[in-house]
Each structure stands twice: as structure tokens, then as C-alpha cells.
């Protein structure tokens, strides 16, 4: 097992520009010793999947507050899997109604972090769930 640092793509899909959460998470993950790549705003699922592949990440953290999560998140998962990134975890953070959680998880989202989540919990989740590489 290598000492490779956990690499995370923090992604902001959809049209909304609220990037406070994405930037706070990016900094917290960096402070926890991970390598973080932030996509910037308004990335399509295709752009996010391409960036995940190019950056060879272990996880994609999707930040979304506009209500478009049901459309965008499953597509991101699907595109990652199509590109062979079977082990890349997809985490979602933002305003997501409770009712939508089971369906997002069925569609391959590893975890949804709702408002009020501590950044430490997200760090711990990644440390526990990213699959070690050969």
C-alpha cells in the first residue's frame, strides 16, 4: 500500500454560484492533508467527469444548492462509471431534501452531507471510505 495522499475533486455543477461551502470544504480537506482540486463554477457533469479522470482522484465532492441535484448528481455518477472510475466516491453537499436521499444513494452517491455537517466528519468519511490503491 502506498502513502499516496487522498485526492479529491471539489465540483460545482449547475448554474448556482453559491461557492462558500465548496471553498470551505476544499480548504478543510487540504488542511487535513488531502490534495484538492476545485473545478470552479458551472461545470457540466461531462466536465466534472473529465476532470476527475484527468486528475486521477479518489473522490468527487459535489456542492449544489439550487435544487437540481436529482438531475445532475446521478449523471455525474453514471459518467464516472462509464469512464471506468468504479471506485471513485461521489459525495454530495448542499441543500437536499431528506426525501431525495434514498434515491441519490441508490443511484450511486456514497453520502450526502446536509447543512450543519462538521468538516471533520467529511474528512473522517473520506479517510474511512477511500479504497487504498495498490
Amino acid at each position: 500500500m502506498s502513502n499516496r495522499k487522498i485526492r479529491v475533486l471539489v465540483a460545482k455543477p449547475g448554474l448556482d454560484g453559491h461557492d462558500r461551502g465548496a471553498k470551505v470544504i476544499a480548504r478543510a480537506l487540504r488542511d487535513a492533508g488531502m490534495e484538492v482540486i476545485y473545478t470552479g463554477l458551472r461545470q457540466t457533469p461531462e466536465m466534472i467527469a473529465a476532470a476527475a479522470l484527468q486528475e486521477d482522484v479518489d473522490a468527487v465532492g459535489v456542492s449544489i444548492l439550487s435544487g437540481a441535484h436529482n438531475t445532475l448528481c446521478p449523471r455525474i455518477v453514471q459518467l464516472l462509471r462509464e469512464k471506468g472510475m468504479d471506485n471513485v466516491l461521489v459525495l454530495v453537499g448542499g441543500i437536499v431534501p431528506q426525501e431525495d436521499l434514498p434515491r441519490l444513494k441508490e443511484q450511486g452517491v456514497a453520502e450526502v452531507f446536509l447543512p450543519g455537517t462538521s468538516t471533520e466528519d467529511i474528512v473522517k468519511f473520506l479517510q474511512a471510505n477511500v479504497k487504498p490503491r495498490e
Binding site: L15, G17, A28, S66, T71, E120
Partner: protein
């Protein structure tokens, strides 16, 4: 003001305070505001000894307006209760507007969906999943006609939260008013149209900063001449605060944005005392009660002084800052959502004690979704209870003269002026934004706050203290169906089929020419809207001329 003799305070510390501390130490070493600013144990006349009543505080309705712009406060007129609303189709939002007016609301405020905010039509591939979600979907004049159907625009003032494509939505509003038979010189309302805070915080931009500023100045020029009672900008600190700024950063960046617009207007040949009186402001009302009240009072004082100092104005309306307030969406919690009703009431009270001209109170379910009818109604009733039951409206600036509040007002003014000096040294706000200065300051504050919450130093009830594992109060939430997009796309198709294609192409060409020649783009925008050119088509014509903004990595 009279100073408490140092001898007296030393005596108090020795005889009264120290024995009390010996018996029971204070709960914490340091007491901090929500902006992580240290708050002292006690404020006394010594803290306000440098303040002069006439010079710094003065009477309400008199320079520097610390105690408010109206000599009678709310005894003459209450603030306008203006609830921000918009979701789904123009038909549904029109019904919500009528409902709110029937319930005693006194002004309207339109929330547009993200495609509209970004200048895309409902049928753009980029709009997928977003139509009608965060606000009402408007792609052309046809939608705007439905949105204001049966709402007399000569009588009701309407505020529109729209920025990058603001000139287009203003044009639609003016054409709808005209079709109702309302006269442009009679109608009033407010266009947010504050593009600077988009680059700083809210991040719904289209064009690069300089042409975007030119579009803002075009609306100033046009409204001054043709729609003189309309407020073409609402310089907004709200979003700056929501993005993580401290109260001082909100104050400083918002007012410095305001100064930047005035400078650009002056540079474009406008007369300060003609257009500045129609500029309005928009602040957040966050949790820290006194810090917020001090912020509003400092804002009025700084604005009056800066308009005099920088632009040599002595015109009362130029010096008087008028502002709207909205309670802090970012302070609302998903956990135990009914607690949000209490937060909103206290925040709203701060706005009122700060002398706001209009107020939006958030609904308790807004950390979950857009508000339901029931939640929106309680939010409005909260304002009505403050206005009618608490008695805080009976006297002007009831907290004026408080040692703590006056000292805090003064401290925040000085700290904001320190930011002004930094931004001026960078060459103004446009340059500071290009350098990423306010963006970095805000990001840093957001991170520090998050860490303070995680360390438990900042308490959020129901989130990091008094938590409950079983959430007892599930609240119903508003769900926006994907069928909204289908409905909107259908109307868009009908609009495109029913219009004169040649007239549309012609109008869009004329708009591009006006943009190329640096003429005022408003007349050509209005003509394009009249021909039923869509929002997407108009913005795309301007994109061809101006290009698009790419955010550098900060």
C-alpha cells in the same frame, strides 16, 4: 459627552467587580460577536468620550443621519414589508404575489430562477434541472406579462432581484407597465442591478466587469431621464455576508461598491445629485443583534460623509442612505427548523432598530427548500407583530445613546474606512475585485467562522448544542416539478412562432451596434424586448460584443 472619571471605574473594578469575579468567574475568557469580534464586559461614558453628539450622532433626518433619515422614524411611515417571492411558472408566482398583497404585504419582490439570472432561456441545455427551482422562470416579455397580470404597476412598487441581465428585465418591466397604461414617470420600484457584488460574492455574472459596469451605468442614465422615481440599483451587502463576510466586511465592501458606482456615473457625465438619490442599498440582518444595529447606523453615517467628502454633495437625498434588509438565510438551520422562526424575529427586530426602509423576513423552511405558503405567511406575520405589538416603533432610534451601541457604531465605521483606504490604494473596487482582494477576505472569514463553530466557540442551537437525534418537527416542503420546464418551453416556442422574426433580428442588430458604439443600450434593449426577442437571445447578442467573464482562481 461626559466621561466617567477613571478614578470611578477603578473604584468599581476594585470594590464591586473583583469580589464578584472571585466568587464566580465569567463563563468564558473571551466573548465574541458572530463576526468573531471581541466584545468588552462593560461600556461606559469613557467609550464614547471622543464622540460629539452634533457631529457624529445628531438628530434623525439630519446629517450624518446616524439616527435615521426620517425625523419621525416609523411614527410617520412603517417600513415596507416586502417579501421576496418567486418560484415555478409566472402563473404560480403571480398567484403568490396576489396572495401576499391580500395578506397586507405592501410591496412585491421578484425572485428569478437561475437560468433567468444567468441570461439563459428555459429551453437552453444549460437550464436543465434548474427551471423554476430557485425563483420564477422568465424568458421573454410573454412570461413577464403573465407574472404581473392583474397587478397595477403604477400602484404597487416592485423590486427585482436580477443582476447580470438586469437591463433586459428592466426593459421587460417597463414594457409591461406601458401595456397596462402606466406612465414611466409614475412607476417606482427597485432593480438590484449590483454587478460588483456578483464578482465578489454571489457569482452570477455574464460579461467581463467593465462592460457589465457600463450596462449598469446605462440604466442609471436611462432611469434618471425617463423613469425618475425608479431605483436602478440596490447596492447589496446581503450576498457578501451570506458568502461568509464579517459585519464590517459587509459594511465596507458594500459601501465601497456604492462609491464605485457613483464614480462611474460621474465619469459617464451624470450629475451626482440627479442619480445618487435613486440609489438604494440592501443589507443582511444576521444573528448578532447589536453588531447588526451598529452596522446600519454606521452605514448611514459613512455614506453621508463620503458623498460629501468625495463628491462634494450637499443635497439631502444624495447624503441619505436608504436600505432594504433581509434576515440571514445562512443562519437558518435544517435541524429543528421551527427554531428559525425565532431567529428571523430577532434578526428582523435588529433591522427595524437599525432603521430599515423595507424588510424581508425569511421563512423557517428556507434551509430546506423554497417556502411553502404557510411558512411565507408566518414570516410576514413576524414583521406585523414587530410593527404593531412590540412598541419599538413608538420612538425614533430607541437605542441611540447606548454606550455600547455608539462605541460599536464608531468602531465599525473606523474599520470600514480602513478597508476603503486599502481599496482606494488598489485603484478602486473594480481593480480590487480583479486582484481578488474582497473575495479572499470573505473566503478567509467564512473558514474562520466554520472552524469557530466546529470548536464550539460559536453556538448554533440544534446544530452544535442542544441537538436532537430524532427530529420531531418534520415540516412539509415545496417541491418544484420538472413539468415547469415543459410548460415554459412550450410558451417560449409559441412566442418564437408568433413573432416577426425579421423585427427580432433587426432589433438585436441595433442592440449590438449600440453596444459597439458605447451608446446607451437601454433604448435598443427595450425595442428588442417589445419585438419579443428572448432574454437568451438578447444576452447572447451582448455576449458577442462584450465576451464572457472567466473567474481567476483565488
Amino acid at each position: 459627552m461626559r466621561t466617567m472619571p477613571t478614578k470611578e471605574s477603578s473604584r468599581w473594578e476594585e470594590k464591586t467587580l473583583q469580589p464578584a469575579l472571585n466568587k464566580r468567574p465569567e463563563r468564558k475568557k473571551s466573548f465574541q460577536s458572530v463576526s468573531l469580534e471581541e466584545v468588552e464586559r462593560l461600556y461606559t461614558p469613557a467609550d464614547v468620550e471622543d464622540l460629539d453628539y452634533e457631529r457624529d450622532i445628531s438628530f434623525p433626518g439630519e446629517f450624518p443621519y446616524t439616527r435615521g433619515i426620517h425625523p419621525t422614524g416609523y411614527r410617520g411611515k412603517l417600513w415596507t414589508m416586502r417579501q421576496f417571492a418567486g418560484f415555478s411558472t409566472p402563473e404560480e408566482t403571480n398567484a403568490r404575489f396576489k396572495y401576499l398583497l391580500e395578506q397586507g404585504q405592501t410591496g412585491l419582490s421578484v425572485a428569478y430562477d437561475l437560468p433567468t439570472l444567468m441570461g439563459y432561456d428555459a429551453d437552453s441545455p444549460l437550464s436543465e434541472g434548474e427551471v423554476g427551482k430557485c425563483g420564477v422562470a422568465v424568458s421573454s416579455l410573454a412570461d413577464m406579462e403573465v407574472l404581473f397580470d392583474g397587478i397595477p404597476l403604477e400602484q404597487v412598487t416592485v423590486s427585482q432581484t436580477i443582476n447580470a441581465p438586469a437591463s433586459v428585465l428592466l426593459a421587460m418591466y417597463l414594457v409591461v407597465a406601458e401595456k397596462q397604461g402606466a406612465r414611466w414617470d409614475k412607476i417606482s420600484g427597485t432593480l438590484q442591478n449590483d454587478i460588483l457584488k456578483e464578482y465578489i460574492a454571489q457569482k452570477e455574472w455574464i460579461y467581463p466587469i467593465k462592460p457589465a459596469m457600463k450596462l449598469v451605468i446605462d440604466t442609471f442614465g436611462f432611469c434618471t431621464e425617463h423613469v425618475p422615481r425608479y431605483n436602478p440599483v440596490s447596492v447589496s451587502g446581503y450576498h457578501i455576508r451570506e458568502a461568509g463576510a464579517t459585519a464590517v466586511q459587509e459594511l465596507a465592501f458594500t459601501l465601497r461598491d456604492g462609491i464605485e458606482y457613483v464614480q462611474w456615473g460621474v465619469d459617464a457625465g451624470l450629475d451626482v445629485d440627479q442619480f445618487v438619490p435613486r440609489m438604494s442599498f440592501f443589507f443582511n440582518a444576521h444573528n448578532d443583534f447589536f453588531e447588526e444595529i451598529a452596522k446600519y447606523r454606521a452605514a448611514r453615517r459613512i455614506w453621508a460623509r463620503e458623498m460629501k467628502r468625495r463628491f462634494g454633495s450637499n443635497h439631502e437625498r444624495t447624503l441619505q442612505m436608504r436600505f432594504h434588509t433581509q434576515t440571514a438565510g445562512v443562519s437558518l438551520t435544517v435541524q429543528q427548523p421551527l427554531n428559525n422562526i425565532v431567529r428571523v424575529a430577532i434578526q428582523a427586530l435588529a433591522g427595524v432598530l437599525g432603521g430599515t426602509q423595507s424588510l424581508h423576513t425569511d421563512a423557517y423552511d428556507e434551509a430546506l427548500a423554497l417556502p411553502t405558503d404557510r411558512a411565507a405567511l408566518i414570516a410576514l406575520r413576524t414583521q406585523q407583530i414587530i410593527a404593531e405589538e412590540t412598541g419599538v416603533v413608538n420612538t425614533v432610534d430607541p437605542l441611540g445613546g447606548s454606550y455600547f451601541l455608539e462605541a460599536l457604531t464608531e468602531k465599525m465605521e473606523q474599520e470600514a474606512l480602513e478597508y476603503f483606504r486599502k481599496i482606494d490604494a488598489m485603484g478602486g473596487m473594480v481593480s480590487a475585485i480583479e486582484k481578488g482582494f474582497p473575495q479572499r477576505e470573505i473566503q478567509d472569514s467564512a473558514y474562520q467562522y466554520q472552524k469557530a463553530v466546529e470548536r464550539g466557540e460559536q453556538v448554533i442551537v440544534g446544530v452544535n448544542k442542544y441537538t436532537m437525534t430524532d427530529q420531531p418537527s418534520e415540516v412539509p416542503i415545496l417541491v418544484i416539478d420538472e413539468s415547469v420546464r415543459t410548460h415554459q418551453v412550450e410558451r417560449l416556442e409559441q412566442t418564437r412562432t408568433g413573432r416577426d422574426a425579421g423585427a427580432v433580428a433587426n432589433a438585436l442588430d441595433k442592440l449590438k451596434t449600440a453596444a459597439h458604439k458605447h451608446e446607451n443600450t437601454m433604448p435598443a434593449t427595450i425595442d428588442a424586448v417589445r419585438a419579443y426577442a428572448t432574454l437568451g437571445e438578447i444576452c447572447s447578442a451582448l455576449r458577442d460584443v462584450y465576451g464572457i467573464y472567466e473567474e481567476p482562481a483565488f
